[in-house]
Subunit: 252 residues, 2 copies
């Protein structure tokens, strides 16, 4: 049994049980403990798990944008809930903008059965999600490929968006608060979100409750940029009331 195969098996063991000790893994694979420890060290360096004394545990959630690659990522339940609500806003025949982000991506599986749609997006995972879906025509924004976010960004992408018009736009954000409005990690995503919002009749902001009240470092738009906030049920009613008092329509 080679090293890569062992790595796979170790990760699989961690999927079944979040926390395992080295002797347990060694017994399961029939390999000496010392070798398992070496494997764990490599896997830890690759960020695939976290080392503990005597064993290893599953890797913690990563940055927001890489989270959607991670199937069992934290907050996935909430994202699924939001995705379902957002998809319910879409009617057959609509033309919609979808930006790149894990929460917006969660909409895709629910949109597949909606009916004929035209989707305009800068997200490669979104394109992949609809690749085998005949009823949905996809228009992919062109431009520089941002490999980290698996999406298109840059000047050309913005120009491309400006030449389209859609009925609804669904955009995500890294932070949302009454004081600072919408905030983001990166200028790139922020500019795309703004451009899409400007070209749509109705703008939906998708934001799970864990991000509400938190600010990222870049302020890029006021609360007035969007028409409806779609979030989950874990949002305290008091917070929801505050947003409603500011004139925000809250869907949860």
């Amino acid at each position: 049994m080679g090293l890569p195969e062992r790595k796979q098996k170790i990760l699989k063991l961690l999927d079944q049980h979040d926390n395992r000790d080295v002797q347990e893994i060694a017994d399961a694979l029939g390999i000496s403990a010392i070798t398992i420890r070496r494997d764990l060290q490599q896997l830890a360096e690759e960020g695939l798990l976290v080392r503990t004394h005597g064993g290893a545990m599953k890797a913690p959630a990563l940055h927001p944008f890489t989270a959607f690659v991670d199937k069992a990522g934290v907050g996935q339940e909430r994202k699924q809930h939001i995705g379902k609500l957002a998809a319910a806003q879409v009617k057959p025949g609509d033309t919609i903008f979808l930006d790149c982000g894990s929460t917006v991506f969660a909409m895709c599986q629910h949109l597949r059965k909606t009916g004929p749609l035209r989707v305009i997006t800068n997200s490669l995972p979104v394109v992949a999600a609809f690749m085998d879906c005949d009823q949905i025509t996809v228009n992919l924004i062109g431009g520089e490929v941002d490999k980290e976010r698996k999406a298109m960004h840059g000047q050309r992408a913005l120009q491309h968006i400006d030449s389209y018009h859609g009925m609804k736009a669904f955009i995500g954000t890294d932070g949302l608060s009454l004081r600072n409005g919408l905030t983001a990690f990166s200028e790139k995503e922020a500019s795309i979100s703004k451009a899409m919002a400007a070209q749509a009749d109705i703008v939906y902001l998708l934001c799970d409750s864990g991000k509400i009240g938190k600010d990222s470092y870049l302020k890029y738009a006021p609360l007035t940029m969007f028409d409806h906030l779609i979030t989950d049920r874990q949002l305290p009613t008091s917070t929801a009331a505050q947003f409603k008092a500011k004139g925000v329509s809250v869907i949860s």
Copy 2:
């Protein structure tokens, strides 16, 4: 038993069991271990499996975009040969156009180690191939997603291409003959190929010998559109001579 046949059998063995060691394969095929190791190296370079110490394991499932890659398909050997030759024409620092087509796609694996490059393409598989390659920046043509061909087409895509300039363009074709020049199945691909050719200083046509002398139904460009024809060694020398007589530079 020839080399291509062995490759197919090795891949079949890996389909049955994700992980095999070289001696196991050697015994199964009745071939020496050293030869199996050479085969595995080739297969690994083609991305059809992953080498491990002492054996090999199945290639990890990649992006959905690469689904069209027909692993052990007919003509794959010739495409690989052409891809290698074409990639050798590219120098570090180049800006190149790559169109959508399996022959052009075969270049990608050989381009990964070339050095810093800027790639402009309308092909989703090409984007996927360079997704984890830091040295290569990719500019994806925007437009309507053609799900069948996994590429972008349409008016907007053509406009997008026109706003760029590249040193070299690598394009495929469905048919090539002295009488009818370049022929294609579909208007969509033909228009993209023409647009890319118009924006590049040097145009390479990638065409395996099986397509030479054959015509598809749509004539879209004369032989003068390209500067160099890259093909395989199965092209009869007499045919090659005919092309050279017409002023075509043939690389094989």
